[in-house]
């Protein structure tokens, strides 16, 4: 069998292509994110998939050239010679400037479009005020007569605008299943638009170091059907009027989880 010139190179390219495809499929199949519980989660998770598709081939390329070089061009024992005096290759250098530039520009534009979509104003928005303090969250529903609650209860499929403030230091309001987060800044009101899209119970966590209790600053958020939300809000308002204090943390009808 005659030795074909460049054959090892063809083998490297073939193996790399196989590795790139297998690698990309593998990372796409992995379950990276928590469950998708907001309309934002879908776009963000898809965007991440696109980033994976762009990234794996690049990593495989770098590994392939490095491994191939180390094997093919390894010095034989006692070889004190030098390599080929290659100083550069203008065409190659132009290629590896323009291709990455095009890739990052495309990804930036895609990211921008997704961002605008996530932050677009929606009709029928429920406003919830979130107040962060060391080390708990307090929620107020201005649309429900100023109802105050320790637990966040949200109706499914209705856009929410969180208006986030703090008593003391910078915290960060985050529900991983919703994906979106915002810092709380003393002196400012920061805003977050989320449309919960899945029933269930999730955690609000604090995602900015705020002191000793930072890791314990976790509270529940429940996404419930619209009817259940309405009855919870109505009952809670009644209780707040009679008791004159904050609502209990559990609604009257625990119902579905």
């Amino acid at each position: 069998m005659p030795r074909v010139k460049g054959h090892p190179l063809a083998r490297m390219i073939t193996y790399s292509l196989i590795a790139a495809v297998l690698g990309t499929v593998a990372v796409l199949l992995l379950d990276w994110f928590p469950v998708e519980a907001s309309t934002a989660a879908g776009s963000i998770d898809r965007l991440y998939d696109v980033l994976l598709i762009a990234s794996v081939p690049i990593f495989v390329l770098v590994m392939a050239v490095a491994i191939y070089s180390v094997i093919k061009f390894r010095a034989r024992p006692g070889d004190l010679g030098d390599g080929a005096p290659i100083h550069g290759n203008t065409r190659l250098e132009i290629l590896w400037v323009t291709v990455p530039f095009i890739m990052v520009t495309t990804l930036a534009v895609y990211g921008w479009l997704v961002l605008d979509d996530l932050e677009a104003k929606e009709p029928n928005t429920l406003v919830v005020e979130v107040r962060a303090q060391q080390f708990a969250w307090r929620f107020t529903y201005p649309g429900e007569g100023g109802l105050k609650a320790n637990q966040l209860v949200l109706p499914k499929d209705r856009p929410v605008e969180f208006r986030v403030t703090t008593n003391d230091v910078v915290h960060d309001f985050w529900v991983p299943q919703f994906r979106l987060k915002t810092d709380t800044v003393p002196g400012l009101t920061t805003k977050l638009r989320v449309t919960p899209s899945r029933l269930g119970r999730y955690d609000v966590v604090c995602a900015e170091l705020c002191g000793i209790g930072h890791s314990t600053m976790r509270q529940a958020v429940r996404v419930v059907p619209q009817s259940e939300y309405s009855s919870w809000a109505a009952n809670a308002r009644k209780q707040q009027k009679t008791v004159g204090g904050e609502t209990p943390t559990e609604p009257e009808n625990p119902g579905k989880q």
Binding site: I58, A108, L118, D183, P186, L188
Partner: protein, 634 residues
């Protein structure tokens, strides 16, 4: 020496008595001013400690002798003829004094920074022990917060930034054919400011309320309200920052004015380019972190309201000022490493660095672009929303010059004659790990994705891939590569390889899984976490312990080789750059004759090419393709 003579001469005795004197000054100043203003109580311990933590390090620097020459000159006294006794090391004791020799200072830097690397690394081990299981097992939350804050601060300000300065301090004057740095006394002062910063950070553990616990980022208003430990950070950063700025000035002047005849900018080795561009970053950016920490210090100690909304302060302003430095800081922590990789790869692949001019231009592009991306650390901070997209664009653009470098190093390997020495292994490990870190960095630039992963373990994964798999791997490469030059002995190649493989494997097992727990919802800077993250965390913790142990192999190798290793030749790597054309270790004043540079620094494979020649010495510099001692066994 009589006691009086000991106390009058610069050195540790005088430094010792400087401490009570400095304390007395601090005490007098604080009590006096408080009495004049009528503040109650006049004796306020916190106020006294705050002033003392500035006065005592300054007193130490005066006592040990950093300012003697300048004070004497400023006083108008007659100059003392220079006998160069304070220059160069003739015994181990010289390494513990104020010494103006850049080679001594370089080794002082490297040994001191590795001490703080060990301290910071041990803190990480305690953190990982705590994080092995959900719940609290070993440390209280406040202690835990102190641990990660001091860990990061030591690693950044007392290890990565200064160890690169130390390696460059040793190598660059030799590489450009100079007898020393432009300002040797300033160089000595720069070094001695460093242990003062590190001791202050460690001392914060003894303050009431514990170590500073607001992260190395120290966001206001948390940092303006926490106990005294925070002030130690505010002051320590000033000393570390001053050290860094003075060194950078020194490098800039040295590189611009002291290159050997014939060494144009385009004939400089890339390590020199890398440190030149890094020094530009340092002098422009570092004053901003100094400023941010002064603002916090003033809010804490002087009643200002920089970050108090009730006093017309602006909380977000802290973050803008802080990150305006701290983003360039990450390039300060990487660019010298890029220089080291260019040196190691060209020598061990026996090839010119591919695309040398673009490599230099890409360094400059990173410097410029590096100043335009700071707010990518603030995407979810509540800052002006219109700033986010421009910052995303500039951040993604930085991938282009960085990519040029990675591809150029790969092309340098191509058709080379590759020797897999320990420095080369670390350089190759760097290329692959830094690529991964860069990929997670691109992901972190895309706003919708980063809104989810901001402040999670995904960020912790990214930073350790670029700072450990990136910077620290290049530091190891540099230490192994120049070890023979610095010590005159060769390290053990077998142990070097063991160190590399253990580090590489367990580094990935430690930090790889962090990408997953982060995306899955685990925030960073938490001592406790939800049950669902338990499995991956215990894997990470156990891997991190083995990873930590792997460092012992390095320590053992370096220490035993320094003491008993085989004597090293002048040029064990058969490299062309000027530092290899003098003995190992070099003569005290580096060159018996100033070399003349006649060609590029990496002309391997070009018949008859030389980089520098000694006109009077017989047998010039090592031409391309020549023999010499074979490199250590691979």
């Amino acid at each position: 020496m009589t006691l009086a003579a000991r106390l009058a001469a610069p050195g540790w005795w005088r430094a010792l008595i400087s401490q009570p004197i400095g304390f007395a000054v601090a005490l007098g100043l604080t009590v006096g001013v408080r009495a004049l203003y009528g503040y109650e109580p006049v004796f306020d311990w916190e106020a006294i400690v705050t002033v003392a933590m500035i006065a005592l390090p300054l007193a130490f620097l005066v006592g040990i002798g950093c300012f003697d020459y300048w004070f004497r000159w400023a006083s108008g006294a007659r100059t003392v003829p220079e006998d160069h006794s304070g220059h160069g090391a003739r015994s181990w004791k010289d390494y513990f004094k104020v010494n103006t020799d850049h080679k001594v200072i370089g080794i002082q830097y490297i040994c001191t920074t590795f001490f703080f690397f060990i301290a910071g690394g041990l803190m990480a081990m305690v953190m990982r022990a705590e994080l092995a299981q959900p719940g609290t097992q070993f440390v209280e939350p406040n202690t835990y917060n102190g641990l990660f804050s001091v860990h990061a601060s030591l690693m950044i300000f007392l290890f990565i930034i200064p160890v690169f300065a130390g390696i460059a301090n040793y190598v660059i004057p030799l590489m450009i054919g100079a007898p020393d740095m432009a300002f040797p006394r300033l160089n000595a002062l720069s070094f001695w400011m460093l242990p003062t910063a590190g001791i202050l950070m460690l001392a914060s553990f003894f303050a009431e309320g514990g170590a500073f616990a607001t992260g190395w980022t120290a966001y206001a208003p948390l940092s303006t309200e926490t106990p005294l430990g925070q002030t130690f950070f505010n002051v320590a950063v000033q000393f570390a920052g001053a050290s860094s700025i003075a060194t950078a000035l020194n490098f800039l002047v040295t590189i611009i004015t002291m290159r050997a005849p014939g060494m144009t900018f385009w004939r400089m080795p890339l390590l020199v380019w890398a440190n030149f561009t890094t020094s530009l970053l340092v002098v422009i950016a570092t004053p901003f972190i100094a400023g941010s920490q002064f603002f916090v210090l003033f809010d804490r100690a002087l009643g200002t309201h920089f970050f108090d909304p009730a006093g017309s302060g602006d909380v977000l302003m802290y973050q803008h000022v802080f990150w305006f430095y701290s983003h360039p800081a990450v390039y300060i922590m990487m660019l010298p490493g890029f220089g080291i990789v260019s040196e190691v790869i060209s020598a061990n692949a026996r090839k010119p660095v591919f695309g040398y001019r673009m490599m230099a231009f890409s360094l400059m592009a990173i410097v410029v672009l590096g100043f335009t991306v700071w707010a990518h650390h603030m995407f979810v901070s509540g800052m002006f929303s219109w700033l986010r997209v421009p910052m995303m664009i500039t951040t993604m653009l930085i991938a282009v010059p960085t990519g040029i470098k990675i591809f150029s190093w790969l092309a340098t390997l191509w058709r080379g004659v590759i020797h897999l020495t320990t420095p080369m292994l670390f350089a190759l490990g760097f290329i692959t790990m830094f690529t991964l870190g860069g990929i997670s960095g691109i992901m972190l630039a895309v706003i919708p994705v980063v809104i989810h992963v901001s402040d999670t373990y995904f960020v912790v994964a990214h930073i350790h891939y670029v700072l450990f798999g990136g910077s620290v791997f290049t530091i190891f490469a540099g230490i192994y590569h120049w070890f023979p030059k610095m010590t005159g002995r060769m390290y053990d190649e077998g142990l070097g390889k063991v160190h590399f493989w253990l580090s590489f494997v367990f580094f990935n097992l430690t930090f790889g899984p962090m990408h997953f727990v982060g995306i899955d919802g685990m925030p960073r800077r938490v001592a406790d976490y939800a049950e669902s993250f338990a499995t991956l965390n215990v894997i990470i913790s156990v891997s991190s312990f083995v990873f930590g142990l792997s460092f012992l192999v390095f320590l053992y190798n370096i220490i035993t080789s320094w003491r008993n290793g085989p004597k090293a030749a002048a040029n064990p790597w058969r490299a062309h750059t000027l530092e290899w054309q003098v003995s190992s270790p070099p003569p005290i004043f580096n060159f018996d004759e100033v070399p003349t540079v006649v060609g590029g620094p990496y002309e391997y494979g070009v018949p008859g090419a030389v980089h520098g020649v000694f006109k009077e010495k017989k047998g010039a510099a090592v031409p391309a393709g020549a023999g010499g001692a074979p490199p250590p066994s691979e």
